[in-house]
């Protein structure tokens, strides 16, 4: 008896009429058993807790429980938001019914993701449940977290802060902000810390792409991805080196695989055979930490075969001749193979593919950045692309896939210890610029600092705050040791040397965690530590922050496009938005008015909250350097509403499109107005899809390399040569950046309006608050405001002007350490002393490599993000990865008697021993082990569940690899060395 049901109809179509009527009759008589009911009843084997909780979730979704924000009229609304789990920036339509997030739909119109998601984006609605979140403020009392009120929490925290300030000055507190904050929140955070009177703030970018940002910016101007995910479709060849996009940026593969179908050659170089490698035409396995030998090995063949773009190098690049000499001398195929293990033929093939299939692009990510020589590695990649003439070209570029959803934005306008929003630096001029923008007296700000020196001294970094606590005071480059730390949207298990972090946490006076899922930090702080470490006066507070779905604001995807998130739901439980918390703290600390002078307030849950649009407008008014000025809230919202208008390959608006509601004309715009979007919104700069692209007019997103390093170096011209300029530029040779002097010299001063003139007098394009200089130069004359210069193959202000290979501090290869030793130690580097050579030498003498003969590297799983507390609290994701594990090659495993699924002890020189599951796989070579870094909640073999705040433990817990990762920091940015260290593994 086959039954058929019509999909279109509303009733069940005929089975046998008799059976049907009988069945229906009975169905009416016998109440059908509710699925949840039978699940509950038969829930014997179901993951306990999960079963129960998913039941309540449904009930909640059904019944708008009393606590919900309950609009009450059964309204169904669709809110457009953006996934918060990585920098791809996939758009999501959230369906909200009665204030409850009941459904999510893919946004097919989005040119970035065309409706596609990875598992995290597809599970994003769980944020509307928030079952395992912190629900109310809590305080650690006698080892247990207790619920307190917001008022009590804010009062006590600010009182503590004032005490610390009085006793040890503003530098005694370290503020760890977040790449998960919106642009507005990140910006406000930097402003908050500035008004508190310190530069001691940082966020994830430090341990993510800081080396990229520094290395790339110093090479050609801006520290960002040059092209876009979409632009991969224009590439003819792509080299992914140190990026596992298939797991870390899954939706980017949509574009790459499409390109591949059209013939793009995909090469993946990685110590690990990743899911990305599985899609490659060529996979190159090499030793972790040896990117420079490999890249320069490729470059060697480029030079040997004359494949470099000679005209391009002449016109647009400085110092390649010196690099050429160095490479040809040092990186002959034998040396390359010795250092990175790749035979000549494979290296040659990469060079050939890159050279023969131009435009070719390079993609890198954490595999290159997280090293003590990360800054040099990323520059080696830049140099390769410059040599091939691939930068500033559609289909080429340095496609640096960034990390968090808004790490790009937080880097651009957020809490950095060495710069104010927009990379303005922290010199007096920058402070004055911001004093003006903020409408706050410069001297008043100065007075907030300990003294003028501290105002211009870069703060500590998030990678080193533990040393700020633990290090001997006289060795620190600031007066007090750190006594208070704010973890404001940042996990603890993402920083190395976890065992020492535990000690540092115990010694603090004040630890405040502001996070929707503060539990990893909370459990670590509550867990008993070493005898004598615990500061008897320590206070620990947890504040429930709202997620990005509970507020609105903009975020910057990796391709520099800004997207506006609408608020999906009201803050769950007792949580409050980050900017509201900042405002409330500032008020109690006495600078609330200064913080929010330019903003209106809106009521959320009856309380004042600064309006995000106003904060964005302030960003628009100040961030000229990187072109965050054109992206007004109105323009961004028009883009979000009209996504279908943009071309998937170019991101450009197709034809003439006007926003129906506001009448805003999108014609010519690139999606999300990828920064730099120069000048005022009224200038209507369309954003820059690909940086440094001379084939386009500057008012159509074209450009050239930035003049940021002077006009000449040792008598060599640093400006672009004659004939190299963006299309339509009136100055057809190199020139320095635009300022009032240059404009006057060129006779364009009169083109400014009188108001513009008075604002621009004595200013350059970055400090002219009127935007007049930019308008005149770019719009009227096609002249790029930041000048037209050469990219630098030699970055003379870096420790290794030409990138040099140096072995990691913990290396399994003493022979190579001897040949390629690391840097000398540094004394006061981001306020902390930093070891290089002494430690590397000590490791050599102690023969640690014999005790720990395997390379340990770490990275990402698709299912989890970052420290993972948020994603491990999402049952839909957690189910898919239930155990922390270490990947071991079958050969190595066999030698150690380890079988698939065995428990093993992983030990490293930090003294850590992790109890994890063995995944025996050929993904890694015999000399390498790999661990995902997303786990926490188990500590050296023990479960930390007892130390979590009640009900706020994630679904899955596991050992954090970062208790095992060792000392080692980048010589420019203080990036931690998470990608190459050593370990040993034994059966447990």
């Amino acid at each position: 008896m086959l039954l058929t049901k019509k999909t279109g109809g509303t009733q069940v179509a005929a089975r046998s009429p008799f059976v049907h009527s009988l069945q229906r009759g009975l169905a009416a008589a016998l109440p059908t058993m509710d699925r949840r009911a039978f699940l509950r009843r038969s829930g014997l084997g179901v993951g306990v807790g999960i079963a129960a909780s998913s039941l309540t979730l449904v009930k909640k979704a059904k019944a708008a429980d009393g606590k919900g924000p309950a609009v009450g009229d059964g309204r169904v609304e669709v809110k457009r938001t953006v996934c918060t789990h990585c920098s791809v920036g996939c758009a999501i339509d959230a369906v909200v019914e009665n204030g409850l997030w009941v459904r999510q739909e893919p946004v097919f119109d989005s040119p970035i993701n065309l409706g596609a998601h990875c598992c995290k984006g597809a599970a994003i609605r769980e944020h509307g449940h928030g079952e395992f979140r912190l629900r109310y403020p809590m305080k650690l009392v006698n080892g247990k977290y207790q619920r307190i009120s917001w008022d009590q929490a804010l009062d006590e925290i600010t009182a503590r802060l004032q005490d610390l300030r009085k006793a040890s000055g503003p530098e005694s507190v370290f503020w760890i902000g977040s790449s998960k904050h919106s642009n507005e929140q990140s910006y406000l955070m930097r402003k908050f810390v500035s008004l508190w009177g310190s530069n001691n703030c940082d966020h994830q970018a430090r341990i993510c792409h800081s080396t990229t940002v520094a290395g790339v910016a110093n090479t050609w101007g801006y520290g960002a991805m040059t092209n876009s995910y979409n632009d991969l479709q224009n590439s003819k060849a792509a080299l992914y080196i140190g990026s596992n996009a298939a797991e870390a940026h899954p939706v980017s593969m949509l574009h790459m695989l499409h390109a591949k179908e059209n013939g793009t050659k995909l090469m993946v170089a990685d110590p690990r055979f990743t899911r990305t490698a599985a899609k490659a035409d060529q996979y190159i396995r090499f030793r972790s930490g040896s990117d420079i030998p490999f890249l320069f090995g490729v470059l060697y063949h480029v030079f040997k075969n004359g494949w470099e773009d000679k005209k391009y190098l002449n016109d647009r690049v400085y110092g390649m001749d010196k690099v050429r000499e160095d490479v040809l001398a040092k990186w002959t195929p034998d040396k390359v193979q010795e250092a990175c293990g790749v035979p000549e033929a494979e290296v040659f093939k990469v060079a050939q593919t890159m050279a023969m299939n131009r435009p070719s692009t390079i993609v890198w990510c954490m595999g290159q950045t997280q090293h003590s020589i990360g800054n040099a590695m990323v520059r080696a990649s830049c140099i390769l692309q410059l040599a091939l003439g691939n930068i500033g070209v559609a289909g080429g570029g340095a496609n640096i896939f960034r990390g968090h959803d808004n790490v790009q934005g937080a880097t651009d306008v957020g809490p950095n210890p060495d710069s104010l929003p927009g990379y303005y630096g922290i010199a007096e001029g920058a402070w004055r610029h911001y004093a003006k923008v903020w409408n706050v007296d410069y001297d008043w700000i100065k007075g907030r600092f300990q003294n003028a020196t501290m105002m211009t001294k870069p703060g500590m970094t998030v990678s080193r705050w533990i040393d700020g606590v633990l290090e001997k005071n006289e060795l620190l480059d600031q007066d007090p040791n750190l006594r208070g730390v704010f973890y404001w949207g940042h996990a603890p298990n993402s920083q190395t040397r976890g065992l020492e972090m535990k000690r540092a946490m115990d010694k603090l006076d004040l630890l405040v965690v502001v996070d929707p899922y503060p539990s990893a930090t909370a459990a670590m702080a509550a867990m008993p530590g070493q005898e004598g470490d615990l500061n008897p006066n320590r206070a620990v507070y947890l504040l429930p922050a709202a997620t990005q779905f509970e507020t609105s604001g903009s975020c910057t995807a990796s391709n520099r496009s800004l997207q506006w998130r609408e608020k999906v739901i009201e803050p769950l439980w007792e949580s409050r938005s980050d900017h509201m918390i900042m405002y409330q703290l500032a008020q109690k600390l006495g600078f609330g008015a200064e913080l929010t002078k330019n903003y209106k307030m809106q009521k959320v849950k009856g309380m004042d909250e600064p309006v995000p649009e106003d904060i964005l407008r302030e960003i628009n008014k100040s961030n000229w350097t990187i072109g965050y000025t054109g992206q007004s809230p109105e323009r961004l919202k028009a883009h979000m509403k009209n996504m279908a208008a943009f071309d998937v390959k170019t991101l450009k608006c197709k034809g003439n499109v006007k926003d129906k509601d506001t009448g805003y004309d999108l014609t010519g715009d690139y999606f999300g107005l990828p920064w730099p979007c120069y000048g005022t919104p009224e200038l209507k700069h369309p954003g820059s899809p690909n940086l440094y692209d001379t084939t386009k007019h500057v008012m159509d997103g074209g450009g050239c390399f930035r003049a940021n390093f002077g006009v000449e170096k040792d008598g060599v011209n640093l400006l672009a040569e004659d004939g190299s300029f963006p299309v339509g530029c009136e100055i057809q040779t190199g020139y320095p950046e635009v300022d009032h002097v240059l404009v006057k010299k060129l006779g364009w001063w009169e083109e400014l309006t009188p108001e513009e003139r008075s604002a621009a007098e004595g200013k350059n394009w970055k400090t002219d608050l009127s935007g007049g200089l930019i308008r005149v130069a770019m719009k009227n004359h096609g002249v790029h405001c930041f000048g037209n210069a050469k990219a630098r193959a030699v970055v003379w202000n870096f420790p290794d002007p030409i990138p040099q290979h140096r072995e990691p501090i913990y290396s399994t290869r003493p022979d190579l350490v001897a040949k390629y030793p690391t840097h000398d130690d540094k004394k006061a580097f981001w306020r902390t002393p930093t070891l290089y050579k002494t430690l590397q030498q000590k490791n050599l003498t102690d023969k640690v490599a014999e005790k720990f003969p395997l390379i340990l590297t770490s990275g990402r799983l698709t299912e989890y993000e970052g420290g993972g507390e948020e994603t491990r609290s999402n049952p839909w994701l957690a189910e898919l990865q239930q155990e922390a594990f270490v990947e071991i090659n079958p050969q190595t495993a066999a030698a150690k008697g380890i079988k698939q699924g065995d428990r093993v002890w992983l030990r490293t020189p930090t003294g850590a021993q992790l109890n994890v599951q063995a995944l025996v796989t050929e993904r890694v070579g015999p000399d390498t082990c790999w661990m995902p870094f997303h786990f926490s909640g188990r500590w050296q073999g023990n479960d930390m569940l007892a130390y979590y705040p009640n009900g706020a433990a994630p679904v899955v817990r596991g050992e954090a690899v970062n208790t095992a990762t060792t000392y080692g920091y980048d010589s420019v940015t203080m990036m931690q060395e998470t990608k190459t260290t050593i370990c040993n593994i034994e059966r447990a």
Binding site: T4, C119, A123, L254, N262, K279
Partner: protein, 205 residues
């Protein structure tokens, strides 16, 4: 009438599990029940490919054939659905299904499994389309809303195609052709059937 089918393009699938969580999300599927899962073959070595699999809505469905209570039925679009009110949780469909599609909320002793749950092609169950009862037992009925399966719609790389068999077969064929590799991919013999020396008699793979 359209016949609904899935194709998972293993050249594209990256084991991102989006299809899995999309399904969990859309239908509020509980822990332990995986209507869809992703399998990677040759994991970690060249030739690695991933495939996402759920119910294939078979034409001559083994599950349907063995169900002791005949609770399966087929819609006009060829979607194989079942009636949870009738299901007795015997597990036979899962023994018979080649793909391991049928799932059970419990795996307890005494043969306690709960009622079978499986991919519905996002087409709900026998209750009225879009009703609360239907949602609670089978999840959403996207087909009735004129939408395609959530898993396929959200697939990160568009590897997973779900919809009218003819249409998705066309898309897939197009893609294979566009890969530009007709003869190159399949071998001349396979593609065009010519017999040559050294070629085992038609036994092409």
């Amino acid at each position: 009438m359209a016949r609904m089918k899935f194709i998972c393009d293993s050249e594209r699938c990256i084991e991102c599990n989006s299809c899995v969580t999309a399904c969990k999300n859309e239908h509020e599927v509980p822990w332990g029940v995986n209507r869809r899962r992703v399998v990677t073959l040759n994991d970690g070595v060249p030739g690695e490919r991933s495939v996402s699999v759920a119910c294939m809505h078979c034409s001559d469905a083994p599950c349907m054939a063995v169900c002791p209570v005949n609770c399966f039925y087929r819609t006009e679009e060829g979607v194989v659905l079942h009636d949870k009110d009738t299901c007795i949780g015997c597990g036979y469909c899962s023994y018979a299904c080649p793909f391991g599609a049928p799932q059970f909320p419990a795996a307890g002793t005494f043969g306690v499994r709960g009622k079978m749950d499986k991919c519905t092609f996002c087409a709900g169950g026998p209750e009225a389309n879009g009703s609360q009862a239907e949602f609670e037992k089978y999840g959403r009925n996207r087909l009735a809303e004129g939408k395609l399966p959530a898993c396929a719609e959200m697939c990160s790389t568009k590897a997973l195609l779900g919809g009218d068999g003819d249409v998705i077969a066309d898309i897939f064929r197009n893609r294979v052709l566009k890969r530009g590799k007709g003869a190159e991919v399949w071998g001349w013999g396979t593609a065009y059937g010519s017999k040559q020396a050294g070629q085992p008699g038609g036994a092409k793979s």
